[in-house]
């Protein structure tokens, strides 16, 4: 086969490839690219639900307003706290569980099933479930701690408690993701360095420090970044459990934007804020992909 023939063949293959992916790409355009561009476009207009028309171009004013919005800054702060708290605690618990399960030989499947169960539940259902369990008057949580003589906690209504309640529910829901990802990493580690360390007389702690951690670094990074990206976008459990309250104590950015759009009816400003959030998530995702590519 000559070079020219191979060239034509490659081109024909590529054209066929486009043909096959076209329906999928068209659907994606419709449900992702179009809304994305629409939001970007709208963010430059004074577009409200009272006047849903692109007739008042205001340039970067929506962005400027959002930037100066005090409540948005507060919401960012809550989000940062939420993301850090849940991801760090999930990592610590997830890694401990992964290490423990890695050492277990019997009933592994049973543990896996138990671990996977929360992940299989829809986030809205998780929110509803916990809202009932944690109900201040009727919830089973307060009943159980009451048996031990501990006074009732207003899990979702107390301004100091609600934030941590939401963090805990998020951990309950997402920790298995971390554990399973890390467990897969542990299972893929080579056995020999540990044996070399045993011959060298290293303790279990030193093995962990000098072998497990450095070898697990790529998996840990990917797990943390993935969870970080997901956590920043958290919306469902807030929507179901607290609606950002009490006060603004659980008002995550995604919920703040939702309120601006559907309670404030100011679609233009909400669009500007979502574009901002998108840029942050996109930056993290780009970093994640760069990092994963550098591993190869």
């Amino acid at each position: 086969m000559t070079g020219a023939d191979a060239h034509t063949l490659a081109r024909r293959d590529r054209r066929f490839g486009y043909l096959l992916t076209a329906p999928g790409l068209a659907a994606l355009m419709l449900v992702i690219t179009f809304p994305l561009l629409f939001a970007l476009f709208t963010s430059f207009y004074d577009y409200t639900l009272l006047n849903p028309r692109h007739d008042d171009f205001i340039g970067g004013e929506n962005y400027l307003e959002a930037w100066e919005e005090e409540y948005l800054a507060g919401s960012f702060w809550v989000t940062l706290k939420f993301v850090l708290a849940s991801v760090v605690i999930e990592f610590v618990i997830g890694f401990s569980v992964a290490l423990a399960l890695h050492a277990v030989n019997r009933f592994k499947t049973v543990y896996y099933l138990i671990l996977l169960a929360p992940l299989l539940i829809n986030p809205v259902v998780v929110g509803l479930l916990w809202r009932m369990l944690l109900h201040a008057e009727l919830g089973i949580a307060n009943y159980v701690i009451g048996l031990f003589g501990i006074s009732r906690v207003n899990w979702l209504g107390d301004i100091g408690v609600a934030f941590w309640t939401v963090v805990l529910v998020d951990i309950w829901h997402q920790v298995s993701f971390m554990a399973i990802l890390l467990l897969a990493g542990l299972a893929a580690l080579p056995r020999e360095p540990y044996e070399a360390a045993r011959m060298d007389g290293a303790s279990a702690f030193r093995c962990f420090l000098h072998i497990t951690l450095p070898l697990m670094r790529p998996v840990i990074m990917v797990a943390l970044l993935l969870r970080l990206i997901f956590a920043i976008k958290t919306f469902d459990i807030i929507f179901i459990m607290t609606k950002g309250g009490p006060g603004t104590s659980t008002d995550l950015v995604s919920y703040f934007i939702y309120r601006a759009a559907f309670f404030g009816l100011d679609i233009g400003r909400a669009s500007a804020m979502s574009v901002g959030l998108l840029v942050i998530v996109l930056a993290l995702t780009t970093y994640l992909f760069r990092y994963m590519r550098s591993l190869r």
């Binding site: 007389g201 030193r206 000098h210």
Partner: protein, 367 residues
């Protein structure tokens, strides 16, 4: 310095699987012993039990007379070099070398001295600041070896350390290991499935099969006097030709009946073969004991048909069919050539033939 003695060493997994079956072996002080066998024969498991990485199901391991069955691997004062190098990934070469010494509380100046000596010996002085992933396979192997050497243990255990290297590097490392053994004079147990390694490196080799020791001895002795058809067929490439045959003829004139070919049996071998007269045996002859020209000593002609001629450069391997149809190989001079299908007369060196029991495979009438 250490003498390692294995007595009835057994490793079982669960009820059924016996990986190592009552192995007796003595590795003498300062000896280079090679444990050779096909994969799954239990040789690595044996090494790992000596190292303490694998529990011993039965039997006793002694180092210099002391039973070490229950001794922690770190306290046996042995060093292992693993097939996959097993370096500590985030430590520099120098960190890898010193890790075991630091854990043992050796003082800093002594550690530095040993690292320098070892690095110079292995030619890795220039790599001390690098991390394992910045090294080639061959360099990693040297560091792994260095990590064992700096410890100055009483004995070294090598678990197929050369099998991940390319052919050229492997042969260079073979020479290097022999040199290191000569310089240090320490006991070495080297596990391998490569018979060239075993033949060239070992002072003695121990051949294992299905968890048992088949034969132990100096390489040439094992080569010349294999105790059974397994050893005969395992050592050397191409391996010994093993043919179904019968012992026939009268006392004083026994013959090997390869139907239809018959080869005379030399008189000094008759005594051992006489009881087996008229019974089936396995007849063995190494490819290099078949010649294209008559040899000065006792030889018998053997007419064969050429199947293929493999010219390797320094020699030619002839694959040929006996009149009965069985194929044999012969190593001939580099100038030999013959077209496939043609007839060739070979000469079998009758002083170097082997007889094995057809049932058990055990050697018969070895001198």
């Amino acid at each position: 310095m250490a003498r390692i003695t294995l007595q009835g060493i057994t490793k079982t997994y669960g009820q059924e699987v016996v990986a190592v079956d009552a192995v007796d072996l003595e590795i003498r002080d300062g000896e280079f012993m090679v444990l050779l066998g096909p994969s799954g024969c239990g040789k690595s498991t044996t090494l790992r039990m000596i190292a303490g990485l694998e529990e011993i199901s039965a039997g006793e391991i002694r180092i210099d007379g002391r039973v070490v069955n229950e001794v922690d691997p770190a306290d046996r004062d042995l060093a292992v070099v693993f097939q996959n190098y097993a370096l500590y990934p985030h430590m520099t070469v120098s960190g890898n070398l010193s890790f075991g010494l630091r854990l043992r509380g050796v003082d800093a100046s002594e550690i530095e001295r040993r690292i320098n000596v070892t690095a110079t010996m292995l030619g890795i002085e220039g790599l001390l600041g690098r991390r394992p992933r910045e090294l080639s396979g061959g360099q990693q192997q040297r560091v792994a070896l260095g990590r064992a050497l700096v410890r100055e243990p009483v004995a070294f255990l090598f678990d197929e350390p050369l099998s991940n290297l390319d052919a050229k590097l492997r042969s260079a490392m073979r020479t290097e290991l022999i040199k290191i053994h000569r310089d240090l004079g320490r006991t070495i147990l080297h596990v391998t499935h490569d018979q060239v390694e075993a033949m060239t490196m070992g002072e003695r080799i121990c051949i294992m099969r299905d968890g048992r020791v088949v034969q132990t001895g100096p390489p040439l002795e094992v080569y010349r006097r294999p105790v059974d058809t397994f050893v005969a067929g395992f050592l050397a490439s191409p391996p010994m030709n093993l043919l179904n045959a019968r012992i026939a003829g009268e006392s004083g004139a026994l013959v090997v009946d390869l139907s239809p070919v018959r080869l005379p049996v030399l008189s000094d071998r008759e005594e051992a073969l006489a009881p087996g007269r008229d019974s089936a045996i396995t007849f063995g002859i190494r490819p290099e004991d078949l010649h294209a020209e008559p040899v000065p000593r006792n030889a018998a002609p053997l007419d064969v048909e050429v199947v293929a001629v493999e010219a390797l450069g320094p020699e030619v391997v002839l694959i040929a069919a006996l009149p009965g149809g069985e194929e044999i190989s012969a190593r001939l001079g580099r100038d030999f050539s013959a077209p496939p299908g043609s007839g060739v007369r070979l000469y079998a060196d009758l002083e170097r033939v082997h007889f094995f029991d057809a049932g058990s495979g055990r050697a018969l009438g070895e001198k």
